[in-house]
Amino acid sequence: MNMLQFEAGVLEKLNAKAHWVWRETLKIHRQSQETRVASSLSAVEIFVTLYYGGFLRFDPANPLWELRDRCIISKGHGSLCMYPILADLGYFSVTELEKVCKEGSFLGGIPDPVIPGYETINGSLGHGAGVGAGMALGLKRKGRNQSVYVVTGDGELHEGSNWEAFMFAGQHRLDNLTVLVDNNHISMLGPTDEIISHRSLIRKFDAFGWFAIEVADGHSVAAIAKALQDCRREASGKPSAIIVNTRKGNGVPGLQDAPLSHVAAIKPDLIDQLIGER
């Protein structure tokens, strides 16, 4: 993929898709108010770029296709936006989106790998990086060229298990592993900087032997795509980390960047208004 192709038209399609996913995510939340919507809205453009930007190889008709790239959604509870993406791609019927959190549905408030397209269990935080590192090592030892992507959050990085995995991946030069940090700066009870500051994630990953870059605007699919391309080009012999600076509750007044937004619900009237407006 080259950026010219992006600029010629793909970028517009990606932006339109991101907007559609944002709207669909809000619609799901309107019918299932217990879903965690704020941390899902921060990650919309990350997942849209990965799944529609040509970075992942996958086959919705065969979710566990051996030649797929592996995408581990470690911030599982904050991935409601993946439901419309997976339905749109054909992993399951779009009618399933009307049943989220309802009896008999496989689409829960926190996703499980019974959902076609989900690789692992990620309701509990801090697991994706280590499992992803194991997959990346396994692929390398088998001489395979598939890649592993792990999407995590800055709050999730307070779990120490992540850093065991980051040390391991750097040591073993797992350049088929890319971690995207949805850096929305807010954890459950407030700003991550006020809880345990990460200070510089870039410097931390660098010290762990990773190629690390930052995306200033994590709601720009072009910027995320460029970062993914840069990783492919520059990160030979190293795993990659992309620190994607996002806004929790992106685009929702009262929710966006609100310190206690993690489990907050958006009133249906506001959702109707937002969907009509944007």
Binding site: H127, G134, R141
Partner: protein, 325 residues
């Protein structure tokens, strides 16, 4: 007896790893992950099949997670560390990425924990392990193997490779007397009856099988017969066959090197007896009195916590008295 006498005594981990080494030479899809824990056989494996080994360092959470990732890519994985650390340091990783995930994805991950019970005698309670049977049997799909000797331990890799799912291999760290010859195959039923007769059967696992045999010898010296069973497949033994064996007894004594009354083998057998409606009086032998910090030889420590030969013999006599009263 003759066949057993010719076997050179070794630690369980050495015979198990040697079996695993031979399997790894034949099968490139076997992977050994260690948390910086070794042995002479481990050195051989690292030298001869380096592509199938990785050391994650002293990082048990990552030991489990990397093992899960490798298993998802089709490797049959053995994770290797000290028993309390591979079970309790990374309990949530085992729950999420092995127990839960293996319900959805085919995975073969086998946790080798060295140092059951008091076997790291001088290292104190951090390295000793009296809770592992309790916490590992809490997972409904975890298979637990608790061998009593090096020959049984050597059988484990073959069994683990033949079936998916999470498994915990609970090994003693010390060199114990050999109980079994190379044949016959002892694993089919999940237990082995060493002695039979009398009103009471001692049902033991791991090191405690050796204690049970000594208790049986002492009682036999005073003309009392008891049965002795080695239960090495804690969650997968043949329930029908065990019931058949136990049908000739009136009492059963569970013997484990773990805390008594805390959900270990005693709780498992209580459930079994109730569920099957067996008419058996039960006595549970396990570590009493909580954590201890004394130093001493293992058999001495065992007497302190109520699981030594002297104390167990006394308790079994008491059970027999109550049965005949």
């Amino acid at each position: 007896m003759d066949a057993i006498a010719t076997i050179q005594p070794k630690a369980m981990r050495d015979t198990l790893l040697l079996s695993l080494y031979e399997a790894m030479l034949r099968d490139n899809d076997i992977f050994l992950v260690t948390a910086d824990f070794g042995s002479p056989v481990m050195d051989k494996i690292r030298a001869d099949v380096p592509q199938q080994v990785v050391n994650v360092g002293i990082a048990e959470q990552n030991l489990i997670n990397v093992s899960a990732g490798l298993a998802l890519e089709g490797f049959k994985v053995f994770a290797y560390a000290i028993a309390p650390f591979i079970t309790m340091r990374c309990y949530e990783q085992i729950r999420v990425n092995l127990a839960l995930l293996s319900e959805v994805r085919p995975m073969n991950v086998n946790l080798i924990g060295v140092g059951a019970g008091y076997s790291y005698v001088v290292s104190g309670p951090t390295h000793q392990c009296y809770e592992d049977l309790t916490v590992m049997r809490a997972f409904p799909n975890m298979r637990i193997y608790s061998p009593a000797d090096q020959v049984a331990a050597a059988e484990l890799p073959g069994r683990c490779l033949s079936s998916d799912g999470p498994k915990y291999l609970r090994l003693d760290a010390q060199v114990l007397p050999v109980l079994y010859s190379e044949e016959p195959p002892i694993f089919a039923n999940g237990f082995h009856e060493h002695r039979n007769g009398g009103a009471v059967c001692l049902l033991a696992t791991g090191y405690m099988v050796h204690t049970a045999l000594k208790v049986a010898d002492r009682l036999m010296a005073s003309g009392i017969s008891v049965g002795v069973i080695d239960l090495f497949d804690i969650c997968g033994f043949s329930e029908d066959l065990l019931q058949s064996v136990l049908s000739s007894y009136r009492g059963i004594v569970t013997m484990e090197e773990g805390f008594r009354g805390r959900g270990g083998m005693d709780a498992m057998m209580f459930d079994y007896i109730v569920r099957r409606g067996l008419d058996l009086r039960m006595l549970n032998i396990g570590v009493e009195g909580g954590y201890r910090f004394e130093l001493g030889e293992r058999h001495v420590l065992h007497e302190h916590v109520g699981i030594g030969v002297e104390r167990v013999t006394e308790k079994v006599r008491g059970l027999m008295k109550s049965l005949s009263a």
